[in-house]
Symmetry: D3
């Protein structure tokens, strides 16, 4: 399942689970900035689903779409980074692929844990599903708090300074509540870590960058997959009505 | 979105997330046995996915399939019971539908909590994802332990007494570890609660039956949906490449 | 211990642990509204204790009173609902009786868990013992927050609209903190779920109604009692100075 | 509410919640051995309840009995030690009395926490309610495990060496599981801490002795009671059908 | 290792981990006030480190200094109280010494747990490390909240009434959040428990006093040390570059 | 504080907290194997302490020694890896240094979390302090279990195949208990991840390798330090009796 040993260049797939090509490209750009020299970033966008996931329903659909999107890359890439802040279908993708798979929020959380004690998270819209996600990762005790800013994704592009001004007091409040770093969650906040550098009282974390670095490390480590348990490779399964690329990977 | 008030009979959809029609029918039968007189049980099976979910990957695909399966019933049924022991896509289905949605393992857990202090869970294959599911429901502190019996689903049908003999010592061991009831998880164990009645030291719980009773109660209660937060109805969304029934429900 | 099979009508005892007959009657009325057709609700009030439990001390006394109150109904009713928001002596009542026993706050919590992710709780006086109660049920991680309104029980009757105006902002604040539903705890808040229907941003839960529906479901299920463990029936015990009805039930 | 300042001798009430006078006396003896010179131990036995609490039901009855038993001593003693291993009605007793109240298992747990990291607990019968008790005290993460020995309380008196031989391997197993000390829970194990001294691999804790020492310390500290919250003194309450001594204390 | 049996007077070492002699003396004074008649308090100050620990770095250095400071007293004292609010090196000191060792914040927490349900903590500077400390003791679920007052240690001495005025609203806020008592953390707050007596709504706890009382009780109990596990005595170890007193104790 | 921008080669300090030079060198070798091309690994060994930390006491001493050891490298290296499986003084080192600091067991845990769901840990001697360490990192819910093998560190060198035969069944048992990977904790197990590759049922993790990869990623990220909170840089402090290099870093 591994790629030919002669191929020295590391190739990481950055897969969106939203259908917006522009977000995919922005994430790929973030990934390239974070990647080590010699790492090739390729990107993929799902064939179906929501333009931008904004509900539990869309997130479930996106899980399937994401698996379908990454399946054809099995054996073609050295690692996969999930470019969706909900870490959509992360555990399943990890079981599916022969290579490491890293979620962007998961990666931001573990990075935060190596910077300080507790961390905060800021997002648009609703923070509750992020709170659940952090619990799913077992890290509730390291979450100092969450905050929501009341702006729209388009505003993040058109009025970045206004958004920055809304972010800064939330970041300061999370720091006062015990956060030693703050995760910027959601594609629309991409780039604000750089924009606010020097103005925020604690480090700001962009999940894509965190994930790419971890993916590179896991690739280099070359861990085998577990051969038992709930992450062992799936084999000999027959699926119906599912994309042949995905179905084929489970039937091998 | 509610059904016409004049329609007095309660109608509950039992939706499988596996593609095996026989399991759907067996679950519908369990549901009919548990239902109150006057409750109509209708059943549905997904259009795509695995015959029987046996991996994290298949479970994610099944989540999408389940949402697609139940969406056309919005406004046509009074409640939905998820006939899949992983409570696949439960939270999303709850957000999607205008009526109550109950997961079978969730329902078994809450029932167990009203019978005694802690509960156990027995299944085929691998218990780890059930452990995670119970944590997702916030009930880890009420789980006394899990057990796995080493038989196959076909054996549960062809050699039920052999399976019963394997179940009984596991049930006793879980009781000794503090379980006041034991959940039989997985469609293949359907009916063993009845088969072992009088032989098991603690009550055995079948999730479908538990879920149908809770669904009936929630229907009668007629709670409104939350109008804010992450379970508020989804509206005005445009999805691509998704079944029109499902997409339409989100676009309304 | 079971009631004669020919008796088709379900009979549920709603037992107060406060001595105020008017509260018992109000709870019985709530129970009747929530019950399925064909369910008979009977009610009981303790022989000793406080008019309304408002301290830890009174709650302990009420536990004994409650057990004494329900004991004579063993074998005469199909289920017991505890009409006291502290779920007073719930676990002991469950062990004592041959039939299902459901607590009103426990039932509200589990109902809340089937409506959304986290829930809130509003009460009069002091919320700390409710926080402890939810922890005792193992559900702390699903509690978004508690709120206290500064009114008296008599005001809830005499000035309900004033109380409603105090409740609404607390409910909204709990929803903003992540609650997808809110439990109204304490007998004095009975009926406010109906009064605020359509005005509250999330569903409001009345424990009596929740408990009656669960009790009906458990009755229909007909689970045996555990024969081992800390909920197994108590037999052959000799108590002194205790009401003969209660003592007799333990001595059988 | 305090005793006259001129009375220099500290007086501690050791109150049983079981009706067996012999256990009360044994506990009082343990208390006297543990007490500082100059501490007077007086003992009390409830007027009603079970000879020895062995179920959840009896424990609830005992809670009321205990409050009735200690109420007359308000203002007459400097502290109360609850001589019942379930810490029955501890929080209510603490609210009720003007002086410190200490539970024997609570005291053993806190002592264990000052001896090492985690602790174990050995008892007769069923350990589940002790597990719940330790969770109620918030100490689950410091519990390494529980063990049950299969002997009867009379055997502890008539065949102590046989019981000792059963205890030692359980103590060693708990130590191997991470316990740095072991609590002997239940009146029938009183004295085994001394009997096994030098033979057990870790310290053994007798709750009565632990509680007496803490009670002495709290007396000397002379903390005021909280004037707000759920432990503030209860006043102006009218109870019916309750022992006048207890009722009077709440009505003051 | 034990002191000669003939020596009836209890001798407790109060060891600072800060280098400020005045703090040591103040702590020794607090200890003497709290100690039983007949208890001798001796005090020690480290040879190296910070005047007052105010960072994670200084706290680690202080851990070593503390062990070096107390080692020479092994066999010379009956117990050790750590007069440093971070419970610096507590577990190691406990393993090192042949006698009981009690931390001041640990002792305040356990005392708080015997006064009410949850407790609060007020300090200068930053509360995050106290939050971590309480988690390390396994007591997070009993912490109602923390508060920080914005004054300096010198002000606590020079303007105590100003500091008192800042403390009182924080104490009231913690009580409103569920605290039944409040720990005053940090040497600079020593004495404010007495100063605010009668003005604070809940009891205030001074760790030194709590620790001395617990240490006296543990001395009287005379528990053996665990002979296995991670608190068993250290023997036969060779350390380099370490104070001979400390090294010798590990080499014995 | 940063190194001159022109210096393109990444330099990582691998600092032991044990005094055994051979372990330092073995760790440095592991680090070099794991490092990316172009990363320079330099190593340091403390000036005082134990040859190999094997008690809580030695670990505290080692904390001070470690800080003294790394302080002179502030500004001279791009990151620090703590080559001590107890993550000794990790948080303090993180606060002290201007560059990223990564603990080897912390790194192994986070790596395990990106490989599967839960993980196990195998060590020599006593696993209790590792259990505490994982709790300190907030990851208890992801720990499937710990195991101890009964061999000595010298045997790991002289009889590696015997040790391997002891490790394999423990690894399989941890996998059966739900571990998707297993951390080999303790310097003496270095290299066994490679030795057992292909024989263990789940991936084995060597903390040094994990830590080096994370350290490289954090260096590349170039996060600023938090300017507030308990990880903000320490300045203007005066320490006495402490190594000038360490004291100077705090006084700057």
């Amino acid at each position: 399942m591994a790629r030919p040993a002669g191929d020295r260049r590391m190739r990481i797939l950055v897969s969106n689970a939203n259908m917006t090509q522009a977000i995919t490209e922005a994430c790929a750009e973030s990934a390239r900035r974070a990647a080590a020299p010699g790492t090739e970033i390729i990107a993929a966008t799902p064939r179906f689903g929501a333009a931008v996931i904004s509900s539990r329903v869309e997130n479930i659909i996106a899980g399937h779409a994401l698996l379908e999107t990454i399946a054809p890359f099995a054996g073609q890439v050295d690692a996969v980074v999930l470019a969706v802040s909900h870490d959509t279908a992360l555990e399943a993708a990890r079981q599916l692929m022969p290579c490491p798979v890293v979620g962007m929020t998961e990666a931001a959380c573990f990075t935060a844990c190596m910077i300080g004690g507790r961390f905060g998270l800021v997002t648009f819209g609703n923070a509750e599903t992020y709170r659940e996600l952090i619990a799913r990762h077992g890290l509730s005790s390291r979450l100092a708090g969450t905050a929501v800013i009341d702006v729209t994704a388009p505003q993040a592009v058109s009025e970045p300074e206004m958004v920055a001004e809304k972010l800064l007091p939330e970041i300061a409040a999370l720091a006062a509540a015990g956060a030693d770093s703050v995760i910027l969650a959601g594609a629309a906040l991409a780039g604000f870590d750089e924009r606010l550098r020097g103005r925020a009282v604690v480090p700001l974390l962009d999940g894509i960058a965190c994930a790419v670095r971890f993916a590179e490390g896991l690739c280099r480590a070359g861990y085998p997959k577990p051969s038992v348990g709930s992450y062992a490779p799936v084999k000999g399964r027959t699926l119906s009505g599912v994309d042949p690329g995905l179905a084929g990977l489970l039937g091998g």
